[in-house]
Structure formats: structure tokens, C-alpha cells
Amino acid sequence: MSAELAHGLAYWLRRLGGGVTGGISRLGFAARFLLAVLWYSPQAFRRIHLTLREIYFAGVLSLVIVLMSGMFVGMVLSLQGYETLKRYGSDEQLGILVALALVRELGPVIAGLLFASRAGSAITAEIGLMKTTEQLAAMEMMAVNPLARVVAPRFWGGVVSMPLLAALFSAFGIFGGYLVGVRLIGIDEGAFWGQMQAGVDFWPDVTNGIIKSVVFGFAVSLIAVFEGYDSKPTAEGVSTATTRTVVISSLAILALDFVMTAFMFRGGNV
């Protein structure tokens, strides 16, 4: 009886220990993987068209979804914000509300989530499938480094695209907010832009949004290429890796956003 209990306990403790050490070793592998990608990046930049091609796939092809979402998010913010601000008779502050919400939080975060599910999953699936079909192994046989040829361009393509997409998201969101607030509801145009300019500062509001989007770009791109490179070379492995990319990237974006917001806007200067 007690021997059975001890066995059961040992089994669960072993599983817990295995999970923790596995997680730590995977984290260490990801860190070494990042260093290797950075190390081979100059080699990848010598063929810059590879990176440009990845900016095209990660950035340009994500434009439609990001711009449309930005526009709709801005329009909804404007509608909802107006309903609430109207109660306090300060509906002219709508410009500040829309601009601050988009520039500080929603722009980087939603653009990051969309980027993770639109481009991150595609990167993981592509690299994972290359591994499954042994294209990566074939490259090594031909003395072509897959890190420099396949992984680094995709990583940098994501890192470059993400801040631009976030800025476009915010800009189109503000435009959508303008359309609903000024054109549809009929708030004074001068008050909308004037209050916005008085209430939003380039430093720290806009710059903190840009810093966030750059960090998200690094995080999502690293997770995407790492999950693809580390996937099991089976059909199931690729699908698991793709799912993991979206889940881990989304959680990483939201957690990093909280940590960065806590550091950037803690009291005082808000």
C-alpha cells in the first residue's frame, strides 16, 4: 500500500522534474539558436534579396488584414468611446482616447497577435515542412548553411515587418476613429485633432508604442523560426509546431506587453 503510494508519488515527481528540465533545456536551446541566427545574419545579409522576399511574405501580404483590422478597431473605439464620454459631456476628448489607446496598447498588441497568426504560423509551417522533407538536411549536404539561407532571412523579415505593421495599424485605426467620430457622429474636426495633439506626446507615448512593436517583432519571429526548426519531422509534428507558435507568441505578446507597460507608464507621468 505505502510502496504503491511511494511509487505513484515518485512517478508524478519524476514527470514534474522531467517537464521542468525539458522546458529549461528547450529555453537554453532557443537562446543558443538565437545566437546562432544572429551569428549567421551577416552571411544572410550578403544575399539581401532573401530577406526582402521574406519581408514581402511576412509584411506586404499581412497588409490587408492589418489595415482592415486597424480601421475597424479604430471605428469601434470611436463609437464606444463616444457613448461613454458623452455621459460626462467631454465627447471632444474622443481624439485623445482613440489615439492613446491605439498608439500605446492596441496598435502594437493587436498587430502583434495578427502578425503571429498570419505570418508566424506560415514561417513555422514552411520551415517545419522543409525539415520534414529533408530540404534542410540536403542544404547541409551541399555545404549551404540552413541557418543563414533559410532561418535568418525569415527572422529578420519578421523583425523588420512587425514595427511597420504596428505603425500602420495605429495610423489606420486613428483614421477609422476619425471617420466615425468626425464624419459619422459629427464631433468638431478641430477639437478631435487638437485634443489629440495636446494629449499625445511623441515621447513617451509614440516611442513606447514603437519600442513595444520592435520587442514583439523579435519575440514572434524568434518563436516562429525556432518552433519550425525544432519541430518533429512528421506531418503531426509540423501541425503541433504551428499551433505552438500561435499559442506561445500570443501569450508572450500579452505577457511582455504587461511587463513593458508596468515599466513604461508606472504612475507619475501618465
Binding site: 534579396h49 526582402l52 522576399r53 519581408i55 514581402y56 509584411g59 506586404v60 497588409l63 460626462y88 459631456g89 467631454s90 489615439a99 498608439v103 523588420v160 515587418s161 514595427p163 511597420l164 505593421l165 505603425a167 500602420l168 495605429s170 495610423a171 489606420f172 486613428i174 485633432w193 489629440m196 495633439q197 495636446a198 499625445v200 506626446d201 511623441f202 507615448d205 509614440v206 508604442g209 514603437i210
Partner: protein
């Protein structure tokens, strides 16, 4: 998709992204206006600045002419000293009155400047002599009650200020409901 088409699209994408950043910096965050323009400083002393904050607007006739640069307490006179940074293109007369106002009931607190007729102009570092402090709502209500108590009510002894205050208090309480 051939290489030149990809280059073209990436170029368009990057140009759009930079344009969006410029839009956020200039149109939304007004990077290049008043804040960084050189200006001159004026000092104004108030008995009470109410809810005046750093970087609050300074307005003359409703037009933004500067911002509040610092707010501190004079340890000798116990007055609040606000330093105003005024855009260089605007000059104000020596007898300008600075007052602390609120735009709307819940709006932001700002410093209003009302120019007078003095031919001499204020220069960098000058002090605005005439100021009007913020109106504190609680004090205003207290003063109102006090005035009510001071007034001789008909049918009541004007000397019994305490009971009159109680009546005034009840009266205003009744009005609130």
C-alpha cells in the same frame, strides 16, 4: 513572383510604414510644434493652483501660447510658483493677468493670460504681478454657507449665527435632494 516585383512591393510597404510613423509623430503626437520650439519663461505666483499640472496649456484668448514648465512651492511665502514657457512669437504686456481656469466641468486645468494696456512687454524671467488663483469648489461652497449664515433671515434672530448656519445647511441639503 520575380525579384523586381518583390523589391517594388517591399519598397511600397516600407515607405507606407515610415509614412505611418511620420503621421503618428507629426499629426498625432505634434513632435515639431510648441513643445520644442524655443520660448521664454515667465513666473506667476498663485495662492492656490488647484489641479494645475506640469505641461498644462497656457492660453491667451483661448489660443495655446505655451505650457506650464514647473510648479513649486515658495517655502517663505507659501505661494505656488508656476513657471510658464511662452512661445517666442507671442509677447504680453506688463499688466497681464494670469488666472487658473478649467475648461468645462471635468476638463483640463489651464493658465489663462489676459493682456492689459501697458505699452511695456514682459521679458524672459519676469514675474506676472497680477494673478487669480484657482477656484476650489469646496471653499466656494463653504463661503456660500458662511454668507448665508451671516445674512439676517426674516423671522429669526440675526445674532444666532449658529442656528442660521444650521438652517442654511438644511436648506442646501434639501436643494441637493
Amino acid at each position: 513572383m520575380n525579384r523586381s516585383a518583390i523589391d517594388l512591393w517591399v519598397g511600397i510597404f516600407v515607405a507606407m510604414g515610415i509614412a505611418a510613423l511620420l503621421f503618428l509623430a507629426l499629426k498625432v503626437g505634434n513632435l515639431l510644434t510648441l513643445d520644442h520650439a524655443p520660448g521664454y519663461r515667465l513666473e506667476a505666483r498663485f495662492d492656490n493652483i488647484g489641479g494645475l499640472k506640469l505641461r498644462a496649456p497656457v492660453k491667451a484668448a483661448g489660443v495655446l501660447v505655451g505650457r506650464v514648465e514647473s510648479v513649486r512651492l515658495d517655502p517663505k511665502t507659501y505661494e505656488a510658483v508656476a513657471t510658464l514657457r511662452i512661445d517666442r512669437q507671442y509677447e504680453f504686456t506688463k499688466d497681464t493677468i494670469a488666472s487658473i481656469n478649467t475648461s468645462g466641468v471635468l476638463g483640463e486645468v489651464y493658465v489663462g493670460l489676459d493682456a492689459g494696456g501697458d505699452p511695456a512687454m514682459l521679458k524672459d524671467g519676469d514675474r506676472i504681478a497680477k494673478t487669480q488663483s484657482a477656484v476650489v469648489l469646496e471653499k466656494l461652497i463653504g463661503q456660500f454657507l458662511f454668507d448665508k449664515a451671516q445674512q439676517p433671515n426674516n423671522g429669526q434672530d440675526p445674532n444666532s449665527a449658529g442656528s442660521a448656519a444650521a438652517v442654511a445647511g438644511k436648506g442646501s441639503g434639501g436643494n441637493m435632494k
